[in-house]
């Protein structure tokens, strides 16, 4: 059972339009049992352990237990994802090994929802038939690099 749902914590996302885990699973594994109003993983042997459901669950009801056919019991890796960073906690099977905690940034300088595709650089010839893509050639360069390209390079 790679990703599993803790019955006590799952509220079936009753406050949301759709169940969060069902919305996000890239392999269509998470479903809501409409009798119990709890979610479950309908095909654990097709789970990639990508943690998309774990990260999105609003009640932290989903965890992952390593694949039973090759992972010893007793360890855990849990994730708490906010809008700017993610906090990981790793517990070893051997409890004498100190658990590890890591915090990594997940985005920088742009607030959630604000990633605007256009307008960061001018677009050169703006010719549909040329090789110049949106934002080129300006976006090929950085402030740091000494080479300044004023056109899309060819061989």
């Amino acid at each position: 059972m790679p990703s599993f749902v803790i019955a006590e914590k799952c509220d079936g996302c009753k406050a949301l339009d759709t169940t969060a885990c069902q919305h996000i699973c890239p392999n269509d594994l998470m479903v809501l049992n409409t009798d119990s109003m709890k979610a479950y993983n309908q095909e654990p042997a097709m789970c990639w352990e990508c943690y998309s459901c774990v990260k999105i669950c609003p009640t932290q009801a989903i965890e992952v237990r390593g694949y039973a056919d090759f992972v010893p019991l007793g360890a855990s890796v849990s994730a708490m994802r906010s809008s700017e960073d993610i906090l990981w906690t790793i517990q070893f099977r051997d409890k004498s090994i100190k658990p590890k905690r890591f915090k990594f940034p997940i985005r920088r300088g742009v607030a959630e929802g604000q990633a605007k595709a256009f307008g960061h650089y001018p677009t050169g010839d703006d010719d549909l038939k040329s090789a110049t893509l949106m934002c080129e050639p300006a976006s090929l360069n950085t402030e740091k690099g000494p080479v300044k390209m004023d056109a899309v390079p060819t061989m």
């Binding site: 890239p26 654990p44 694949y67 994730a79 990981w88 990633a115 605007k116 960061h120 893509l133």
Partner: protein
């Protein structure tokens, strides 16, 4: 069987997929479509934030050519890719992507992707072409920009629609058909141009896992061959269908080794402590000239390791503890060494947590502290992934301005990155012979192809119409597994066991067993032969017949049924292409025992194929390899 509603969507530009290539296509198409008053529709089987191979995140951007620094040229990248693929590469396509990819990476940074920088503000390279990132939300950020771009261009986005087939009018692609995995609806998308960006293929071969870990493939299990089927069924010429990819990764959980090899300079050794790259170096003489160029091609590094495995010298260990010790020993004092150890530890764990969390679980469950003990590595199972170090995909028209007098007639017939089918474009894993594009290059190829698509629609105006009879016939075919289940399920007390049908999971197991045993899978140590392939193809043909008798209980299982049909066509193209190429060229990807050496006199050529959906016949052909590099 429940009634299904048919929803018809008319659009100008249809983008099938939701991963990196599709997001690149959406962004670029939105820019140009807005100027030309065209409508864009994106259709995705998942939800864009976590759709495609980057769903979990990535710890590195593997294609950054860094032209801006002056350290690399386009020529350098071509030299690297050509040699890694043992000479079989479309340099015009590789250059087409490489010349734009830096622009893509700079945009990612503007959208909020944290790329590591050093004290001078320069990007931290993992290797020559790779940048380190904090990539947990890589796909979320890229999807956000793509969705914002679509909104600006009044585009439409449909999620949880599984595309099964292209819609054709004669030789032209006029859209796509599929169904919702959430409600009883068949979707018909009528389009003037269609982009295929639905990923590669996993689970064509049996994975190493036997039970619950079946889904722990290195590439995601939801990459199920949709691109390959779509292009094959549409009659597009396919290329490099024999060029699968087998990565070497940490054993079982398939965690990345790139940071350990490239960034931390770790060594892999056999159980006796021997370095297979050194001890088996004489083997490289057999694979010249490619084997003698640095870096040694990935498939040959695999091969030297596999020789040790076949000799009984495994387990093979990555010596993480020695690598960490070497780095810490170089520190000026003990305190600095401790600080460095802590940094390294965070970097090493983040490498897993960003892209293969299972590996972190496995290390924790095995009490692995990488500074104390080594970890096993092993070759994974074979994958179809045109974006990485494999090359399978559709045969595309290269950009005109990158052709030479010699390549022009062979490689350029129309709009940039269009297949041989009019109106059908491809990018990412869907496009062939342009390896080493990875996430950033796949996004970039989506951009290039999308601009080509807009140009195609502007020039060609209204496409040909759609034949209603074709839609009706495909609708019936697509939904048939549901009616098969309904019709026969009551005959037995266990709906899984029924003489009238086969359920998709068992069908997949049968496909995987054929491929594993006859086409050089894990259990045959990636070895096959003409006779094995011929027998495998015989078994595949009866599987193909049984595909008509697949049964599905619900929409989820209907998706599984079609995923496995898609995989089966990828398998068919793969076996035929291995058989057609009468040599062994990539011994670390597959070894043809009856043709055990490389034959550059006869086979420095592409193996291409087409499929005729009316007759079921395949046409195999050899196409010349022509480089655009002046001195090769």
């Amino acid at each position: 069987m429940a009634d299904f509603e048919t929803v018809t969507v008319e659009t100008d530009l249809l983008i099938c997929g939701g991963g990196m290539a599709a997001c690149g296509a959406a962004v670029e198409a939105a820019y140009w479509a807005k100027k030309h008053g065209l409508k864009i529709t994106v259709v995705d089987k998942a939800a864009m934030d976590r759709s495609g191979a980057v769903a979990m995140g990535l710890s590195a951007i593997n294609q950054y050519v860094d032209l801006n620094s002056g350290n690399n040229t386009l020529q350098d990248y071509l030299d690297y890719v050509r040699n890694d693929l043992m000479g079989i590469t479309r340099e015009d396509l590789v250059a087409s992507i490489a010349r734009h990819v830096d622009s893509t990476v700079h945009l990612f940074e503007k959208w909020g992707l944290p790329i590591w920088t050093d004290e001078d503000g320069k990007y931290v390279h993992e290797g020559r072409w790779q940048l380190m990132i904090n990539g947990e939300s890589y796909k979320v950020i890229v999807a956000e920009a793509a969705k914002n771009a679509l909104a600006e261009a009044d585009g439409e986005y449909f999620e949880r629609i599984f595309i099964t087939h292209p819609l054709m009018n004669g030789d032209k692609c006029v859209g796509a058909i599929g169904f919702s995995t959430r409600e009883n609806k068949v979707y018909v998308f009528k389009a003037k141009a269609t982009m295929v960006a639905m990923g590669g293929a996993v689970h064509v071969f049996k994975p190493r896992s036997t039970g619950e870990g079946f889904g722990r493939s290195w590439y995601p299990p939801f990459n199920s061959g949709a691109s390959a089927f779509f292009t094959i069924y549409g009659g597009a010429e396919m290329t490099c269908q024999e060029v699968r990819f087998i990565p070497v990764r940490f054993k079982d959980a398939y965690g990345p080794v790139g940071a350990w090899f490239l960034l931390f300079k770790a060594m892999a050794k056999n159980a006796q402590g021997g370095n297979y790259m050194q001890e088996n170096a004489a083997e490289l003489d057999k694979w010249e000239p490619y084997s003698k160029v640095k870096p040694c091609p990935a498939n040959l590094r695999n091969w030297l390791m596999m020789l040790d495995v076949m000799d009984g010298k495994s387990p093979i260990y990555m010596h993480t503890e020695d690598a960490i010790k070497a780095i810490v020993d170089k520190a000026p004092d003990a305190k600095a060494g401790q600080r460095q150890l802590k940094e390294l530890e965070a970097e090493a764990w983040e490498d897993f947590l960003d892209m293969t969390i299972s590996q972190a679980i496995l290390w924790a469950a095995s009490d692995v502290e990488p500074e104390k003990k080594p970890s096993e590595i092993m070759a994974c199972d074979p994958y179809f992934i045109g974006s990485h170090s494999g090359a399978s995909g559709a045969w595309l028209s290269g950009p005109e301005d990158l052709q030479t007098a010699e390549t022009k007639d062979e490689y350029c017939w129309g709009y940039p990155h269009m297949t041989t089918v009019s109106g059908m474009f491809a990018a990412g894993d869907a496009s062939g012979a342009s390896s080493h594009k990875f996430s950033s290059g796949s996004f970039t190829e989506g951009r290039i192809a999308a601009k080509g698509m807009v140009s195609y629609v502007v020039d060609n105006g209204d496409g040909p119409g759609l034949d209603a009879a074709q839609v009706d016939a495909l609708t019936a075919e697509i939904l048939k597994p549901l009616s098969t289940f309904d019709e026969h399920k009551a005959e037995t007390t266990d709906p899984d066991i029924n003489r009238n049908y086969i359920r998709p999971t068992q069908f997949m197991y049968r496909l995987q067993k054929i491929m594993d045993e006859y086409a050089g899978g894990v259990s045959s140590q990636f070895k096959t032969s003409d006779k094995l392939l011929e027998r495998g193809m015989e078994l595949l043909s009866s599987l193909k017949n049984d595909a008509d008798n697949m049964a599905a209980e619900d929409l989820h299982e209907l998706m599984r049924a079609w995923e496995n049909v898609h995989r089966m066509y990828q398998a068919d193209a793969h076996m035929r292409s291995i058989l057609f190429r009468e040599e062994t060229r990539w011994p670390g990807y597959y070894f043809r025992a009856d043709k055990p050496s490389i034959d550059n006199d006869n086979w420095l050529a592409f193996v291409n194929c087409t499929y005729d959906r009316a007759t079921g016949e395949w046409n195999m052909m050899r196409k010349p390899v022509k480089y655009i590099s002046p001195n090769v």
